[in-house]
Amino acid sequence: MPDSGPRSLDELVVGKEVVIVCGSGGVGKTTTAAALGAMAAVTHGGRVLVLTVDPARRLADALGLPEFGNEARRVPPAAFGPAGSEARGELWAAMLDTKQSWDALVHRHAPDAETEARILENPLYQNVAGKFVQSHDYIAVERLYELHREGRFDLIVVDTPPTRNAVDFIEAPERMAELFSSRLLRLLIAPYRSRMVNLASRPFYQVADRILGSDFLSDIAEFFILFQTMYSGFVERARAVEALLAERRTTFVVVSTLEAAPAHEAEFFMKLLRAKRFHVGGLVLNRVLPAYLADPVVSDSAARVVAEADRLAEVLYPLVDAEAPKVASVLAEVGETCRNLQVVARAEATQRDQLSVLAEVVATAPELEADIHDLAGLLRLGRSIWG
């Protein structure tokens, strides 16, 4: 690693305009994104936006916001007060509303009001915008692009959707552009544009009609015909969105725990990001066991306490006013617990070594005893990974 590279998340984030936080489900991604945003607002100043896709009330509560949606809202400065830190900058938060964002996109690209209305009423569109998983990925990147382009924020921290793997997120613009420019799509909607059906494609329509019924097929066709009116704007846009992800101003921060499955996914994802030449700036490891547990000296003494519990109890029991067997049982339990935790801590250390080479900066956060419920808690987590 070159000497000029960042040595901490602090140094990494200060040089970026977009930080994309990703990782598999359940690793503390949303909380980490919020903590990074809060730390940037406190230490670097400027206007920082945390764009989340997690509808959990908890984050809104933690940020002192009664509610938040597609429109960015400022976290009240008072929320920083009890947290004991003076924020140099402003912290804002927005939650991605998939349906609203799609509607806004249609509004922007539709050639006229009538087309816009017809798209919004199309049953397939309503399903795509509301439920379709991949549309969620695309619209998240699209919304990021829009917010970045507006230039209202110095830094945008994005918490990515809980996709099966975050690959879908980075590939969404590419796939969307592909879909709209595909020959297959044109073939699909051709018969609805003219009565002339190409002989070669006839079996397809017969089959499709048998399976899906013509109503549904015409809904699909109408949807794509209408969407094609937005074609050039849309594809251009998808390309621009894709370009933003690859820019120098953008970095990816991968979040994981050191359990086997999430770590495995984080490794796969970081390798893929690197292969695609995206910037993998940081790796945040959450819920890591304390370092002393992996210490061989501790392991040695734990083993001895278990093996010599009876002898040690004989020495200690007069001092604690309890029967020797009870003392022995507690001591053995203490030693056994320590050894149990050590097995996990050692596996974690190995896992961590393997992952660490894949990101510029690696930060670890301990297992928190209490859940985070306010900005103070977010900042506490933030400080533990920031330096």
């Binding site: 359990e259 547990l293 501790v298 003494s301 604690v320 507690v330």
Partner: protein
């Protein structure tokens, strides 16, 4: 409601990272051990299921990996092709080349198609009786409702055609609580419990599939009784620790810290366990699986979780 593993179709789901795949693999293992021909299917083809069995990669074609146990991975394209040929009896020409690719595009664009071929394949295996039990390592809680509700959604979206005719029997299989059930996996932590309670509500409101059980994974052991904890506190005091240090020749402080860490972590999780118990109907069993202090995550872990679940189910 009968025994959990007497059901024919069991969907295992839960928030990401709670050990859903391990629980699905363990239930399948238990089912096979009890003499039932069992198919276990991974829906999100990430390969984690194969790791749970350490029996090589799984594909769309089920493979026997131990006595009475077959494993497969869902592949929506392959499933769609099978569906087209076996159920809709389409000519070969529609299933190959550009036309198949076209269907893939339609499937990408049309919500529910991917879901219906996934759920359809699983229901079909049950209907045809190829296996006594099908255990599904289903999608995480965010997507599983969409999958299970797909037959109904298709019914609303597609008014005519063969697909609509096909959804009727699927709904019958999914809607019979003696045949089909969902197992939700949680861990005793805030978000997994909240998500589990939210999921249980959505399953009830948006699907016709019954909740069969909730598995609480990674439950930390209770280290001390109240009396023992008092004794522990005295042993951890400076004076006693000094005496112990003399005996051991090293500072025993990290040992006490480790035990205290475990006690504190367990305690912080108790309230979430209680919230879970209160939020789930009393007749739905909660099955507890202890935290496994293991190095490995493969077959050994699967067997241990299976043993724990077996004990909870009274086998």
């Amino acid at each position: 409601m009968g025994d959990l593993l007497d059901r024919r179709l069991i969907f295992v789901t839960g928030k990401g990272g709670v050990g859903k795949t391990t629980v699905a693999a363990s239930l399948a293992l238990l089912s096979a051990e009890r003499g039932r021909r069992t198919l276990v299917c991974e829906v999100d083809a990430k390969g984690n299921l194969a790791e749970s069995f350490e029996a090589g990669p799984t594909g769309f074609e089920p493979r026997e990996i131990s006595a009475r146990l077959w494993a497969m991975s869902m592949d929506t394209e392959a499933s769609l092709r099978q569906y087209l040929s076996l159920q809709l009896r389409l000519p070969v020409v529609a299933r190959i080349g550009p036309l198949a690719k076209m269907f893939d595009y339609v499937a990408t664009a049309a919500p529910g198609v991917r879901e219906i071929v996934t759920v359809g394949k699983l229901c079909w295996e049950v209907r045809e009786g190829h296996y006594d039990t099908v255990v599904v390592d289903a999608s995480a809680s965010g997507h599983v409702v969409g999958q299970l509700a797909a037959p109904q959604a298709i019914n609303q979206l597609v008014k005519v055609g063969l697909v609509r005719l096909q959804t009727g029997w699927m709904l019958d299989i999914l809607g019979d609580p003696a045949t089909t059930g969902v197992v939700v996996v949680a861990t005793p932590a805030e978000m997994p419990v909240s998500e589990t309670l939210g999921l249980v509500e959505r399953l009830r409101d948006e699907t016709n599939v019954a909740l069969a059980a909730v598995v609480v994974n990674r439950v930390l052991p209770e280290l001390f009784s109240r009396q023992e904890e008092e004794l522990f506190d005295r042993l951890a005091s400076d004076e006693l620790r000094g005496a112990l240090e003399v005996e051991l020749g090293v500072d025993p402080r990290p040992l006490f810290e480790a035990a205290r860490f475990m006690v504190a972590t367990r305690r912080s999780r108790t309230e979430h366990l209680e919230r879970l118990r209160r939020g789930i109907d009393a007749e739905v069993p909660l099955l507890y699986v202890p935290y496994l202090f293991l190095r490995s995550h493969g077959l050994r872990a699967t067997h241990q979780v299976a043993d724990a679940l077996g004990a909870e189910l009274g086998y």
